[in-house]
C-alpha cells in the first residue's frame, strides 16, 4: 500500500529537520491503513489550495452519550473515499497519563481494527485522541474500549475530561493527591461528563503545586493548585552546600523572590513566610534545601479559558485554601452551586469566567453563597469588584 501513496511534495517538506514529524507518522500508518493514505492526499491538496476540506458533523455519537465524538466528513468524498467519514473519538485518559504497555497495545489494536490507526497522545484537554473512523464503527469501538475499561471523554457543553499532574505518585512537591481527586471527581460527575447540560464547556484541572504542570490556572474553569499554609521547610546545611558550590543565592534566589521575603546572612536563610507568595521559585532553584510546608492542600481558582469566543482569561481565587481530602463533600456542594447558577443564568457558549465578568464577582459570590475574602482581590485597589455594604445596625450605630 505504501507504494500507492499520493505524491505529497509540500507535506514532504515537513519531514525534514530533526524534529518529530506528523507526516512521517501518517506515512508509516499508511502502510496498513487506506484512511491514512487518503488523509495524506487530502492534506496535500489543502496545502496546495490553502483550503481546508473538512466538514463538521454535529450528530454522530454513541447511544446515550452527548460528548466524546467529534464528527468530521471530507468535502471531497469521491476523490478521497476512505476519509469520507473521519470522526474523532476522545477517550478518557487514566489519571496522570499512566499506562501499561499492555493497555497501550490493546488500545492501538482496537483502533487499527475500527479506525485509521492514527492517534494523538494526548489532546489539549488531556484525552487520548483517536483520529478518523466511520459512523458505523463508533459503537463497536466504544464496546471494545469498554471491555478494556476505557470510556469516552467529554466534548461539547459538558464537563470536559478532568486531568491532573502525576502528583504524589512521582513528585515530591505535590501538596495533595491530584490523581485521587481527579479520579474521584471524574467518577462522581459521570452524568455531567457524558450528558451536556451546561451553557458551554467546563474544565477541572488538578496541579499538585504552584508549578502547575497541567496549566490549570490558564485552561481550567475550576483550577486546583496545590499549596501550603505553614512555613517552607529549610535544610540550612543544604542551603550552605549550594552557596559553597558557587550558587549566587542573592542573584538567583533572593532578588527574584516576588514576596521580597528572603534573606541570607552568610550562614542561614531566613524566610518571612507571612509574605511568601507560594510561587515555588526558591524551591525550584534549591530543591535539595527547600520544600513546601507540611500543612498542605489546594487553592481553588475559577474562570480561566483560552481565547475562543472572547479573549483569554486566567483563573482568580475562589477558595484560598482547601484541605483536598476525600470524600470532598463540601467541594462537591460548591461545584454544584456554581453549575446551578451558571446553567440557569449563563448565555449559550458563555464560559463561567465570562459569566462572572458579565454579572460581577460580587453578585456571583452572592449567588453561590460564598463570602468575599481578601485573597480574591488580585491587586489592592485594582479590581474592587466586591462592595461591602454597611448593614442597618451599623447605620444606626453611626447615627
Amino acid at each position: 500500500m505504501a507504494d500507492n501513496l499520493p505524491k505529497t511534495p509540500q507535506l514532504d517538506e515537513l519531514e525534514k529537520g530533526g524534529w518529530p514529524s506528523f507526516v512521517k507518522e501518517i506515512k508509516m500508518a499508511a502502510k496498513g491503513s487506506p484512511m491514512a493514505v487518503d488523509l495524506l492526499g487530502q492534506l496535500e491538496q489543502s496545502y496546495t489550495e490553502k483550503i481546508g476540506h473538512w466538514k463538521h458533523g454535529g450528530i454522530v455519537g454513541v447511544m446515550g452519550y452527548g460528548g466524546g465524538v467529534i464528527g468530521r466528513y471530507s468535502d471531497l468524498p469521491d476523490k478521497w473515499p476512505n476519509i469520507s467519514h473521519f470522526h474523532t473519538m476522545r477517550i478518557n485518559q487514566p489519571s496522570g497519563w499512566y499506562y501499561t504497555s499492555d493497555a497501550l497495545r490493546k488500545l492501538c489494536d482496537i483502533w487499527e481494527r475500527h479506525g485509521s490507526g492514527l492517534t494523538n497522545m494526548h489532546g489539549s484537554t488531556g484525552d487520548i485522541i483517536l483520529l478518523g473512523t466511520r459512523t458505523e464503527e463508533l459503537e463497536p469501538t466504544f464496546e471494545e474500549l469498554a471491555k478494556i475499561d476505557f470510556d469516552i471523554g467529554g466534548s461539547g457543553s459538558d464537563l470536559r475530561t478532568p486531568s491532573c499532574c502525576c502528583g504524589q505518585s512521582r513528585c515530591e512537591w505535590a501538596c495533595y493527591d491530584t490523581m485521587g481527586a481527579c479520579y474521584d471527581l471524574t467518577m462522581h460527575y459521570q452524568d455531567e461528563l457524558h450528558r451536556p447540560a451546561f451553557p458551554y464547556k467546563f474544565k477541572f484541572k488538578f496541579s499538585g503545586c504552584p508549578n502547575d504542570c497541567v496549566a490549570s490556572i490558564a485552561r481550567a474553569d475550576l483550577s486546583f493548585l496545590g499549596t501550603w499554609r505553614d512555613d517552607i521547610r529549610i535544610d540550612q546545611d543544604a542551603v550552605r552546600e549550594y552557596v559553597d558550590r558557587g550558587m549566587d543565592i542573592n542573584e538567583e534566589v533572593i532578588s527574584r523572590c516576588p514576596g521580597n521575603c528572603m534573606e541570607f546572612d552568610g550562614k542561614e536563610l531566613h524566610i518571612e513566610n507571612s509574605f511568601c507568595k507560594r510561587c515555588m521559585h526558591c524551591i525550584n532553584i534549591m530543591p535539595k534545601a527547600l520544600r513546601p510546608g507540611t500543612d498542605t492542600g489546594a487553592t481553588i481558582l475559577i474562570g480561566s479559558k483560552a481565547p475562543i469566543i472572547e479573549g483569554a482569561l486566567l483563573s482568580s481565587v475562589l477558595i484560598p485554601f482547601y484541605k483536598m481530602e476525600p470524600p470532598y463533600d463540601d467541594l462537591k456542594e460548591l461545584i454544584e452551586e456554581i453549575w446551578d447558577v451558571w446553567a440557569e443564568e449563563g448565555k449559550n457558549r458563555e464560559r463561567v469566567g465570562e459569566f462572572i465578568q458579565r454579572v460581577g464577582m460580587g453578585n456571583f459570590l452572592d449567588a453561590i453563597g460564598l463570602d468575599p475574602v481578601p485573597e480574591m482581590v488580585a491587586h489592592p485597589r485594582e479590581n474592587p469588584y466586591v462592595f461591602f455594604e454597611e448593614d442597618e445596625d451599623e447605620d444606626e450605630d453611626e447615627g
Partner: protein, 81 residues
C-alpha cells in the same frame, strides 16, 4: 409530582415543535420550560431524569452545533453516505 415519563413526553413535544421551525433547544431550555409550565409539580432533578429517559430510549439525541442541543434523530446535512 409529575412522572418522569410525563415530563419526557412533554419535552419530546417541545423538541418536535422547535425542530419543525428549525429551532434548537438546549437541555436547560427544556428544564426551564417544564418548570414554567408545571410549577411545583416538577423540579430540576426530575427534568434531568426525563432528559436521560429521552436520550436513553433513542427518541432524542444530543447534537453539537457550537453548543450542545437536544434533537430528534435526523440525517445531518454534512453527512456523506
Amino acid at each position: 409530582m409529575k412522572s418522569v415519563d410525563e415530563v419526557a413526553d412533554a419535552m419530546y413535544e417541545m423538541v418536535k415543535d422547535a425542530q419543525a421551525v428549525k429551532k434548537k433547544l438546549k437541555p436547560m431550555d427544556l428544564t426551564k420550560a417544564m418548570i414554567a409550565t408545571y410549577g411545583d409539580e416538577v423540579d430540576k432533578k426530575l427534568c434531568k431524569a426525563a432528559i436521560k429517559e429521552l436520550i436513553n430510549s433513542g427518541r432524542c439525541v444530543y447534537t453539537y452545533f457550537g453548543g450542545s442541543f437536544i434533537e430528534i434523530p435526523h440525517r445531518e446535512g454534512a453527512a456523506n453516505d
